[in-house]
């Protein structure tokens, strides 16, 4: 299933946050959306997820306009992990992950075997099995972030969008989560994640979309995009690629 944005334009006040962005996410690829703060990364994934309506341009899922798809049908096809990490109630982590099956459930119908399998798998991938019985308000920021990621993974949608899924995670969990997302992509999911870590992006992602000032500054394989010149043009600092990315000396 492929998700495509055509010529998106989103205004905040008089200023365009996204200005003519076109992008197609194809099955089987893990895409990193990179860019400086304020470049429009979050706005782009929100528009792709269908929770924000662009002023012009449109988002289509296999050719059908996203706006024309019913919320529960859309929710089963696009899993979206928003940036905001906030729970109003101290629900058990396992119950929060189970919300990932919301689209498949109806009033008074208990979880199906399929739902349970998806939930169990997502909890392993995000390494939250040990947190299952804990109230989410008692978790640390990183632990809660993993629970929310598991919620999004439990959707088992053919398209997955995640806004900073590895922010706030320890290095071991960053690697584990990136590997899990990469594995999902290998299974045929079209996945895009907003992130800041160039090293992780280069290591795990098949494609890099670099945003700057609401436009796509570069789009291609990590080798093609993460060059010293392009990064200098976007971030304004000289970064070279060694074992990871660091300031050029």
């Amino acid at each position: 299933m492929s998700l495509a944005a055509e010529n998106l334009r989103v205004m905040r006040g008089p200023r365009p946050v996204l200005d003519g962005v076109s992008l197609a996410l194809t099955p089987g690829a893990l895409t990193a959306i990179l860019g400086p703060n304020g470049a429009g990364k979050t706005t782009l994934v929100r528009a792709l997820a269908g929770v924000l309506t662009p002023q012009s341009g449109r988002v289509t899922l296999d050719g059908t306009a996203l706006a024309a798809i019913a919320p529960d049908a859309r929710a089963g096809r696009i899993a979206y992990l928003p940036q905001g990490r906030d729970a109003a109630w101290n629900m058990r982590a396992a119950d929060v992950v189970a919300l990932g099956r919301f689209h498949a459930q109806r009033l008074l119908r208990p979880l199906s075997d399929d739902d349970r399998r998806a939930i169990a798998r997502a909890m392993v991938e995000a390494d939250v099995v040990g947190l299952a019985e804990r109230g989410v308000k008692t978790l640390s920021g990183g632990e809660f972030a993993r629970v929310l990621l598991a919620r999004a993974l439990a959707v088992e949608a053919p398209v997955m969008l995640a806004d900073e899924p590895v922010a706030g995670l320890d290095p071991a969990h960053q690697l584990r989560v990136m590997a899990a997302l990469q594995a999902r992509a290998r299974e045929g999911v079209a996945a895009a994640i907003v992130m800041h870590d160039l090293t992780l992006a280069a290591q795990f992602c098949d494609r890099i979309v670099l945003l700057a000032d609401g436009r796509i500054a570069a789009d291609g394989t990590p080798d093609a995009v993460l060059t010293e010149e392009i990064l200098f043009g976007v971030y304004g600092v000289r970064l070279t690629r060694g074992a990871g990315f660091g300031p050029a000396v």
């Binding site: 929770v51 919320p71 696009i78 109003a88 109630w89 119950d95 919300l99 919301f102």
Partner: protein, 328 residues
Amino acid sequence: MRGAGVYLVLGLAVLVGAALSLTVTRSGLPLMHDLWDLWDTDPESAGLILWQLRVPRMLLAILIGGALGISGAALQGLLRNPLAEPGITGASAGAAFCAILAFYFGFADDFPLALPLAGIAGALIAVTLLYVAAGRGAPTLTLILAGVAISAIAGALSSLALNLAPSPYAAIEIVFWSLGSLTDRSMTHVLLAAPFIVVGAAMILTAGRGLDALTLGEEAAEAMGAHLTRTRFLVVVGTGLAVGASVSVSGVIGFIGLVAPHLLRPFLGHRPAALLPASFLGGAALLLFADAIARYLSPGPELKIGVVTALVGAPFFLWAVFASRRDA
């Protein structure tokens, strides 16, 4: 199923409360045997007391306590705030004002349904105003301030109606009514309020899933496939129906909607949907007990149940404010 034990306990509590409600009198503890004695000598009067006074009162305590409990749980879920409640959000005050108007202009005498309908209109206006003013996921402070403002407006208008009351007797009648009481209500009151409360509670129950999704915020809920517009409509109209009909029959009974969900939440895994039916039962049990206690403790004139719930509930509210400050 998790929570089954909680429902068992709540069901028992409602049964015990109902039994107390039928038997406790001002002059002492279970005076059912008085009624038994009366039954032997004068079965007709005994039947009258039971069916005309005790049973309607018990049914109203269950319906109104339940309506307040489930409405509190629903408003808390929708506004994502544990301090939301029909009284604090101004819904009760709005319903009271419109019901007073119905009294005042005598609509209620000619057309009995005018009372619950007016109450419902008032509660609906108040909840809608609150929702528009405080918005979704508003900080606690905004929510409470908006509720205070709405209550103040409704209170001011009610005072105006009292001020302009044609006779002091009418004014006193209105004041006593608005204190909140289940005394001397008849089966007519039960039949007036029950359909609206049942429909309102059913609407709220169908919104439960949406409230679960809202736990993670509006954006996440929408991405999960929740129909937020529908959820909001169901909660706002459902609480309007349930609270409006309750207040129009009993006057303002505060804090049941705050206390019931608050006490039950930890036992139901903090899940908003599971909390809804539990809060109905919990609210019903609380009001049954509060009513029985108020009747038993009354020294001279009977204590108004609204006064009792406020005396217990307001300090609880203050404690909840402190607790929420500690969490933040």
